[in-house]
Amino acid sequence: MGVVHGEEMVLNIGPQHPATHGVLRLQVKTDGEIVSQITPYLGYLHRCFEKHCENVTYEQVLPYTDRCDYLASMTMNFGYVVAMEELLEIKVNSRVEHIRVVMAELQRIASHLLGLGAFGLDIGAFTPFLHMLRDRERILDLFEMTCGARLLYNYMWIGGLSHDLPIGFVESTYKFLDYFEPKIDEFVDLLVHNKIFVERTADIGVMPQDVAISYGVTGPNLRASGLKWDLRRNDSYSIYNKFDFEIPVGEGGKGTVGDCWDRFYVRVLEMKESIKIVRQALASMPKEGDVHQSLPKKIKPPIKSIYRRTESPRGDLGYYIESDGSNIPYRLKMRSPAFTALSVIDEIAAGWLLSDVLAILGSLDIVLGEIDR
């Protein structure tokens, strides 16, 4: 059967576009509706994070890390703090560890809610987006109760936390978890098994495992391709090895393993697991303990370099810190998970229709602040 080829059209999606999650420009070469090549152009949100870090002290780097992935600031902080504490050989007390885990998991739920809602919006389902934002607001209320900020927290400090939990936090969190758990089922009913949604996302943008590993894709995107790899289990940090939680893996529920539906569903299941972890952490949190106990007076690490990864909602976040003995980092590199996730788009989206490209972009759950730093 012969295929009719017209002239190739070059289209620019972005940088100003309602669907791109941030300021991103995708240059798309299409033949009619079928896309033949995608070239991402980055750098619209580049704020010289790494150069800044070479001019401020280690504590002053923390607010900068918040602003890289502004939708999951707690985990950004967490990654940096874990790396620094390993460099300085500080061990924090048990209460701090528990609070950190609670905050990180709540942040994971909030980030997934926004990512899934935005994905639904790209597909055309307007309502689930608003329902998820409503639930996310409640998590942001919890964060505001604790540290005063809704989006950029600067909460986890090297050696401890900035504030202890306020009175009433634990009860409010339990209330929120009890309220939120049935909402996930409601959301699954509304969107996940909806025939039109399945048609739009199943078998689309399949990412095989070896492609994912070669492109450095990690986190829910890699788990959706069938590989059970979670840094909270495999390269454990903090007290994650104490908690009992499953690692959801994509099984091709509605199509091939590793398609957009799998990436979507893995995130939904991960939210459920995070709820479990938060409950366990709250139950086993020690009541006594000073969150400022292990704050070092002076941060002057030995002359060493360290690379440490932690699990952020988008994948594995790595910090490569090299110190030269002074209190200012010599070099700090942040390996962002969304950077690697975006690099794979040409490979998996070429050959699909234009609407599919946007669906695939949404399913990768990227945040431009993290990619451009």
Partner: protein
């Protein structure tokens, strides 16, 4: 109030003072002005309804205000008026590289296409601007003018996104006219006429006589028609031509101010037309469901408008619940699902009517 009725009325009183040509002119203009006024009021109401209904579905409150004249009015009743004023006062931008004549022509064409189908809509046993013998056929035919207008809008904007939107929309509307037509053929078969009033009168006698309950295949026919109607009016799940997240705003990307308002308005007008046709063909039109009680000329208005309003409500409901279909899936549904079902329906209903009657 058909034109004929008005002509006769005016000729009685005014034949001495003005010539019969001018009486004809007046009697034609009056209903048109009335229709235009009706469309305007209807547009305000339906925009408000969409805002509020969508807000409630999304667990929000929607436009709210303190009191009449303040903010958005009590319960946001002044919001649509505010929207209209805003659109009127916007700067009229025409892109430099756009084809000026076609660019300016497109909104007018699409509005004309929606407006002239109002001519054959029955609101009452006597209120219909023109009681054409081929009313249903006329509405179907005239509704296709929108296609040309959309292609013009997409092409003349000189913008790749608009072009995409225009092409998609054209394909969509043309394809979905076929299942719509096939469903209406069933109605015509049963009623035996193309005349809107006659179709309504065929369903006389209460809810049991409505065409939708005539035989077990009719609900399927109704569903096929309703889905095709959604696609005709570019509503979600078929709103790819103007889908926000994908194509910015589709074929209306370059339009602003009043020109955009025309597109907007004609979409709602189309919705109204399509729902009235559905109510006429399947739900008994302006007749009351309780046979012969609550059946007066004024109640006729009420029944017609309430049936139409509930169908519009269903359309809004579907828009905010269901995700969007992709272009090829859309075409697949039309040609591979609705078309065979439509054809099957014709035969099934025919055989049923002959055998069982």
């Amino acid at each position: 109030m058909t034109v004929d009725f008005l002509y006769n009325l005016f000729s009685e009183f005014l034949s001495n003072t003005i010539g019969s040509d001018s009486i004809l002119l007046i009697s034609m203009l009056l209903p048109l002005v009335a229709t235009f006024g009706f469309i305007t009021i209807y547009a305000l109401v339906v925009i408000y309804a969409e805002l509020k209904v969508s807000s409630f579905i999304q667990d929000k409150v929607g436009p709210m205000g303190q009191g009449f004249g303040l903010h958005a009015g009590k319960f946001g009743l002044l919001q649509p008026i505010a929207d209209a004023l805003k659109l009127l006062s916007k700067e009229d931008i025409i892109p430099r590289s756009a084809d000026k004549l076609l660019f300016v022509l497109a909104p007018f064409m699409i509005f004309v296409g929606a407006f002239i189908s109002f001519v054959a809509l029955p609101f009452n046993e006597s209120v219909i601007v023109s009681d054409l013998n081929i009313g249903l056929f006329y509405i179907l035919g005239v509704g296709s003018l929108a296609v040309i207008a959309i292609i013009l809008a997409g092409w003349s904007s000189n913008n790749k996104w608009s072009l995409y939107g225009g092409m998609r929309s054209a394909a969509q509307i043309i394809s979905y006219e076929i299942p719509a037509g096939l469903s209406l053929i069933v109605v015509i078969m049963l009623a035996g006429s193309l005349n809107m009033q006659e179709i309504i009168l065929y369903q006389q006698g209460g809810i049991g006589n409505w065409i939708i309950f005539d035989n077990p295949f009719m609900p399927i026919v109704f569903v096929v028609y309703f889905i095709s109607a959604l696609a005709e009016t570019n509503r979600t799940p078929f709103d790819l031509p103007e889908s926000e997240s994908e194509l910015v705003a589709g074929f209306v990307t370059e339009y602003s101010g009043m020109r955009y308002a025309f597109f907007f308005l004609s979409e709602y007008a189309n919705m109204f037309v399509v729902c009235v046709v559905a109510a006429t063909g399947f739900l008994g039109g302006w007749q009351s469901p309780f046979a012969d009680s609550l059946d007066s000329p004024l109640m006729g208005f009420f029944w017609m408008l309430s049936k139409t309003a509930s169908l519009i409500f269903v359309m809004i409901w579907i828009r905010w619940t269901v995700p969007r279909l992709r272009v090829d899936q859309l075409m697949h549904i039309c040609w591979k699902v609705l078309l065979p079902v439509g054809l099957f329906n014709i035969f099934a209903v025919a055989i049923w009517t002959v055998l069982i009657g």
